[in-house]
C-alpha cells in the first residue's frame, strides 16, 4: 500500500459507495445496484438460462437498463448462429429490452456512443466491458450466471477493488499512439499484474488523448488482469458527451486516496510497440520484429476500430497498395464510425488500396466467425488478444499493433515501423 491519510477515495470507491448506498473502501464486500447491463450474442444465451432459473417466466429487473447487441457472429455466419440470434431477439422483444441486433456494430462501441455516463456501475457479459471506464464509469466484465442474477435482481456482489494508478508522462513521438502506450504498460506489469485491481490512468499523455484514443487504453486493462480501466472526467469527457448531455457529475480520485501501487511511464522516445505471439504481455519495440511476414492484417475491433484509428491507417494507406501476398481486413467498430469513415473518404482509400472492408462486428477477433487464419499463417492485428487460436488456426500466429503499424505492415507485407513509411 502506498502511504496516504486514507481519508480520500479512488473513483472505484466513490462509485461503489454510491451504488451500495454507504461509504465503502477497497477490499470490502458489497451488494451494489447496477446502472446498466450489456449482453451479446455469445454470452447472452447462458445468462438468459440462469435468469430463467431464478425468475422463471418473470420479467427482468428493469428493461430500460439492459442493452443487447449481436457482434461476435454477425451477420449470422451459420445456421447455429442464426437460431441463437432468433432466440435472443424473441427474449428481447418479450422483455422490452433494447436490442441493437446485428445492425449497429460492436456492443462496447455502441455502449460508449449511446449509454455510458460517468459515475455509473456497469456490468457486461464480456471481458472488454472495462473499456467504458474511459468515461469515468466503473465497468467490468462478468460471466453469464452473474449476468443472470443481474437481469433478475439488478444487483450483484462485489469486492471493492484496490486501484493501481498508471501515470503516463512525456511526449508521444510521431506515429506512436495510445495502443503503443497500453501495450508498453501491459509488458511492464505482466498479464496478471493488475489482477482484481482497478486501473486508473492519468498524466499529461492521457490528458492530451482524444476519447477514441483513451478507449484503447481502458479496453486493454483486462489484458493485465484489471477489473476495470478508469480515467477521471475532464474537458475531453465533456466534449465527448456534449451531444448527449449538457451536464454530468464530475468524478476523479481524491488527492489523498489510497492506491495499491503507482506505475509511472515516460513515453518520450518510445518506439511503436508490438505484442508477440501468444501473450499480450510479450511486448517489444517494433524494431525487434520488423520484417516478420504478414499473411493477414486486421484493422478494427473494440480496441482500435474507431474513426480516428481508421483515419490514422487511411493516411498511411492513401495512394498505396496492399502487398501482393497480404490480405488487409478493415472493420469499423460501429455503424456510426463506419458512416463517418465513409463520408470522409476513408473507405475509398481502403478499397482502392485493396483492402476488404467488412460490416461493423468483432470480425476475426472472435476466432470462430470469419476472416480466420490458417496454420503457419501470421496475422498482424489491432485487436486486443494474441492467444493461441484467437483468430483461427491454433498453429497460426498473431502480433498486436497500433493502426499505424498495421497499415504500414499491410503495404510492405511484413511488420514495418510506420515512422519509416
Amino acid at each position: 500500500m502506498v502511504e496516504s491519510s486514507g481519508k480520500g477515495k479512488t473513483i472505484a470507491e466513490k462509485i461503489f459507495s454510491k451504488a451500495c448506498g454507504k461509504d465503502v473502501k477497497a477490499n470490502e464486500y458489497v451488494f451494489a445496484n447496477i446502472d446498466l447491463a450489456m449482453i451479446h450474442d455469445i454470452t447472452a444465451p447462458l445468462a438468459i438460462k440462469a435468469f430463467k432459473e431464478i425468475a422463471g417466466n418473470g420479467k427482468v429487473w428493469d428493461s430500460s437498463k439492459i442493452v443487447m447487441a449481436f457482434d461476435h457472429q454477425c451477420p449470422a455466419d451459420s445456421i447455429a448462429a442464426a437460431e441463437n440470434q432468433k432466440m435472443l431477439r424473441k427474449f428481447a422483444e418479450e422483455q422490452g429490452i433494447l436490442n441493437y441486433d446485428v445492425k449497429e456494430g460492436i456492443a462496447h462501441q455502441i455502449m460508449v456512443e449511446r449509454h455510458v455516463m460517468p459515475g455509473m456501475l456497469i456490468v457486461g457479459a464480456d471481458s472488454h466491458t472495462c473499456m467504458y471506464g474511459a468515461l469515468a464509469a466503473f465497468a467490468t466484465g462478468i460471466g453469464s450466471t452473474d449476468m443472470g442474477a443481474v437481469l433478475a435482481l439488478g444487483k450483484l456482489w462485489f469486492k471493492v477493488p484496490e486501484t493501481i494508478k498508471f501515470v503516463v508522462n512525456g511526449k508521444l513521438g510521431k506515429h506512436v499512439y495510445s495502443k503503443d502506450v497500453i501495450l508498453k504498460l501491459i509488458g511492464i506489469v505482466g498479464a496478471d499484474g493488475a489482477n482484481y485491481k482497478a486501473c486508473e490512468f492519468e498524466g499529461k499523455v492521457i490528458e492530451n488523448m482524444s476519447m477514441d484514443q483513451r478507449f484503447t487504453i481502458t479496453n486493454m486493462a483486462i489484458e493485465m488482469g484489471g477489473k476495470a480501466g478508469i480515467i477521471g472526467t475532464d474537458d475531453v469527457t465533456k466534449d465527448y458527451l456534449k451531444s448527449r448531455v449538457d451536464d454530468f457529475e464530475e468524478i476523479r480520485s481524491d488527492e489523498d486516496a489510497t492506491f495499491a501501487k503507482i506505475v509511472e511511464l515516460d513515453v518520450t522516445n518510445m518506439e511503436p510497440q508490438v505484442a508477440k505471439p501468444h501473450r499480450v504481455d510479450n511486448v517489444v519495440g517494433v524494431s525487434e520484429v520488423e520484417g516478420v511476414k504478414a499473411d493477414q492484417v486486421f484493422i478494427g475491433s473494440c480496441t482500435n476500430g474507431r474513426y480516428e484509428d481508421l483515419k490514422i491507417a487511411a493516411e498511411i494507406l492513401k495512394g498505396e497498395k496492399v502487398a501482393k501476398n497480404t490480405r488487409l481486413i478493415v472493420i469499423p467498430a460501429s455503424r456510426t464510425q463506419y458512416l463517418k469513415a465513409l463520408k470522409n473518404g476513408l473507405i475509398d482509400i481502403f478499397v482502392e488500396a485493396g483492402a476488404i472492408v467488412e460490416f461493423p462486428s468483432c470480425g476475426p477477433c472472435m476466432g470462430g466467425s470469419f476472416g480466420l487464419i490458417a496454420s503457419n499463417e501470421t496475422s498482424v492485428s489491432t485487436s486486443n488478444r494474441n492467444f493461441i487460436g484467437r483468430q483461427g488456426s491454433p498453429e497460426g500466429k498473431i502480433y498486436l499493433v497500433s493502426p499505424a503499424t498495421a497499415a504500414a505492415t499491410a503495404i510492405y507485407g511484413e511488420i514495418t515501423d510506420p515512422r519509416k513509411v
Partner: protein, 165 residues
C-alpha cells in the same frame, strides 16, 4: 466435499481460449459437445487422456482472458473434479464458483504431472498420494463459500432472494 484423481499439469497463464477455443463456439448451446474439446489448445490430446474425476493443475493466472462462462462450465461438464492453481484470473474464478466448479488456490509446485491426489475441500487440504505431501489450500472469501455451499449462484439467489445475506 472430497475428490480423488490424477493430476494433469499445465503451466502459467492458461487462457479461456486454451480451455474452450473460439472455433468451437458454434457448439455453445450443446455444452456436452463443447466439453469434448477442453484444453485442446494447451495439449491437443488432453480430451482423450483424462478420466472423470481427474484434476487440472496449473501455475499462476489460470483462466485469463474472456468472461465466457463456457470455459469453467465445459471443464465441469467434462468431469474434471477441480482446478488447482497458484492463482486464477478474476472473472474465471468467479464464474467457476457460480457454476459450482471447485477452484483451489494452492502451491501447485508440490504436484507433478500424473500424481494421484486427494482434495478435501471441507478440511482445506490437498493430499498428494504419490509423494505423501499435504498441501494447504488458501481459504475462499466468505461470500464465495456461501455460494459454493448452495451449489452455485442460482441456488444461492433463489434461497436468499434479494441477495441480502
Amino acid at each position: 466435499m472430497k475428490f480423488k484423481g490424477v493430476a494433469w499439469k499445465f503451466g502459467d497463464n492458461i487462457t479461456t481460449d486454451h480451455i474452450t477455443p473460439g472455433r468451437y463456439y458454434h457448439l455453445r448451446s450443446r455444452m456436452e459437445e463443447l466439453a469434448k474439446h477442453i484444453m485442446e489448445d494447451a495439449d491437443k490430446d488432453f480430451p482423450k487422456k483424462f478420466e472423470k474425476g481427474d484434476f487440472i493443475v496449473a501455475g499462476k493466472n489460470f483462466g485469463m482472458g474472456s468472461s465466457r462462462e463456457h470455459a469453467p462450465l465445459a471443464i465441469k461438464i467434462a468431469g474434471i473434479s477441480a482446478v488447482l492453481a497458484k492463482s486464477f484470473a478474476r472473472i474465471f474464478f468467479r464464474n467457476a464458483i457460480n457454476v459450482g466448479l471447485p477452484v483451489v488456490i494452492a502451491n501447485t509446485d508440490l504436484i507433478n504431472d500424473g500424481d494421484e491426489i486427494e482434495l478435501d475441500l471441507s478440511k482445506g487440504k490437498i493430499k498428494n498420494l504419490t509423494n505423501d505431501v499435504v498441501i494447504e489450500i488458501k481459504p475462499l472469501p466468505e461470500t464465495m463459500i456461501k455460494i459454493l455451499n448452495e451449489g452455485g449462484l442460482v441456488n444461492f439467489v433463489n434461497k436468499y432472494k434479494n441477495l441480502e445475506i
